[in-house]
Symmetry: C2
DNA sequence: TAATCATTATAAACCGGTTTAGCAAATTAA
DNA sequence: TTAATTTGCTAAACCGGTTTATAATGATTA
């Protein structure tokens, strides 16, 4: 139908050069000494015809797309979905749009996705990196494209990132459990050597050791489905009847762990206490409510956007690293034992 | 660093016209009768230098961006996050990327966002429309931009959409509750006149009337926060002590309702049965597990992408409307009363 | 009165692709 | 042997903006 107006059409209609229109559109009327009169005529025309410049053309000539690539492990996971929400909100305020994808923590897939985003000229990346994409990240940085990692990072090379203090928050949570008279505390984690996971484990092991307690770790394979996970935890509980508490390293594990505990006929917190890493709406609703190490999601999103937009707009790239503190939200699942 | 290669650079390096390169890149070498020899030389060069055409330039000249605009009420909500995940997965297979935003169900915000997406030339829209954006949708369609609504639609004008059979699924769920000997069944809903909500209510009211039971509806204002909602449901329960069952029209209401039931000291399903609209991981884990009307999320995503991509690639626009059946997942919260 | 400066506006190149129209040489048909 | 066709390739316009360099006019200054 109504074919979209272009800057050329306006130039023709108003008998003015497109250069002039462009200057006015970009608020350079004064600077470029376009007369008040003409400026107003053009603005009037633009308003009346609801002219919106073609962003593709703009991007092609300026090299800026006002688009951020958000690459998370899985967009539907509670934590990432929350991050996606806040990141979009904040980005939107500065005129940025978000293009996203789920990496599934798959190295090859992620490499390809980075290329796809790069050829669309996103202005910057937010990435939860799987293992083995150091080179691709390096390439981006060398091509002067801002990147902020989050949730995890590479210990062996220097990038901007926003992560939680995985070590400290786990360490504190375990110590808290110990103050509630728990001694046999197991750590249930996903098989993963990524640093967010290893740090959580380090926090657990250190807290245990410092209290002369023996660490007891259950590793769940990545390939497990829900049923398998529940079964595995159930049999772990059967093999370790003396357990006082479980610390789950991710909120999905907590979900499955609760089911397993239920299967074994154990009562929380009477028979066993639990702490979840990552909060979830559900933990507050569940009876008993579940104590959780809560990532400050909104703050993380804010940091991500701050670092990224700052990096995008500044001439020279900087490395910024934020470790944000978590909050241990005490609920009924860790009530002090008698 | 390494400045990105352009088609012009290749043309220069190989002493060949950019037209030729473009033809070869687009698989038109044979059609355009480029010699095998030259074709191979070009392809070799492209591979060796890992050349990736600038998608912006491509989009500018072809008018296609291979980008879909996904506008949902709130990307972090369980249902929408799931949809986002599957939509991206499926779109990705066809080379499409997703740009998203949360409308917050705000009419004005949504209007603006539609314009922002349109000026970025998305190839198509997936939208959960708030009220009052009929004109904007119409405009898109008149401008020949494919749009598929989902979760809800406008009864008074014709668009493509993918929705659930809100009426039928609620009707069936209520009838099921009645077979479990519930008679005093209340319907807890958000104040909303959007059709997905009114249809659910219609299903409830009809099922009740047909069984000569009296409908009892609690409307929760949109402006409520979590605490207010819990309080409101709690006092509703206090005022209606004879209730046998509650039907919650959204899964967030269920969350809050469970808390309210707990506050009142009622046991599910012994004292009161509950059914949730929209499933949630949590409903399966909760004790008792919660019966829910489950939207077939993956199927909806598939339908959305099918309709949209089909519309994008076909010359003439078509209207396609899919009403997908929900599944009533029976769990412990609706165990038959004695 | 000529030189200089401000003011106002524009032509043209550019970003990096696609596509139309057409040319020259080689081959085939008449 | 000449005309017609096929083969192989490209110049140039286009998509819709931005930006640099410069022109034309009128006002000031020396």
């Amino acid at each position: 139908m109504k074919n979209k107006l272009s800057i050329n059409d306006i130039a023709k209609a108003l008998q003015v050069s497109k250069t002039t229109i462009s200057f006015i559109l970009n608020g350079k009327a004064e600077e470029k000494r376009i007369s008040k009169d003409l400026t107003e005529r053009v603005i009037k025309f633009i308003k009346e015809n609801d002219f919106r410049p073609n962003q593709l053309a703009k991007s092609l000539s300026t090299g800026k797309t006002f688009t951020i690539g958000l690459m998370v492990e899985k967009i539907s996971d509670y934590f990432f979905a929350q991050i996606a929400y806040h990141v979009e909100e904040l980005a939107n305020k500065s005129g940025y749009k978000i293009i996203y994808c789920s990496t599934e923590n798959d190295t090859q897939k992620t490499k390809e996705l980075i290329k796809l985003f790069a050829e669309r000229h996103v202005d910057g990346f937010i990435i939860t990196p799987p293992v083995g994409i150091e080179k691709e990240i390096k390439d981006l940085m060398q091509n002067d494209i801002p990147v902020v990692l989050f949730d995890r990072f590479f210990t062996d090379f220097n990038t901007s990132y926003v992560v939680m203090d995985n070590y400290e928050s786990t360490y504190k949570a375990i110590n808290y459990l110990i103050t509630t008279k728990c001694a046999n505390i197991a750590f249930i984690e996903l098989e993963s050597d990524q640093n967010q996971m290893t740090e959580r484990k380090r926090g657990y092991v250190n807290a245990m050791n410092e209290n002369r307690l023996t660490p007891n770790i259950l590793r769940i394979p990545f390939s497990n489905d829900k049923k398998q996970t529940i079964l595995q935890i159930t049999s772990f509980l059967a093999d370790n009847i003396q357990l006082d508490a479980l610390f789950f390293a991710t909120n999905y594990l907590t979900m499955h762990g609760i089911k397993a505990i239920h299967n074994r006929g154990l009562k929380i917190p009477h028979d066993i206490s639990i702490v979840a890493f990552d909060d979830h709406d559900f933990f507050d609703i569940y009876t008993p409510s579940i104590t959780a190490v809560a990532q400050p999601i909104q703050e993380m999103a804010q940091q991500l956007i701050n670092i990224l937009l700052n990096d995008i707009s500044s001439r020279k790239r900087t490395i910024q690293q934020k470790v944000v503190p978590a909050k241990l939200i005490l609920r009924d699942s860790t009530i002090r034992k008698i």
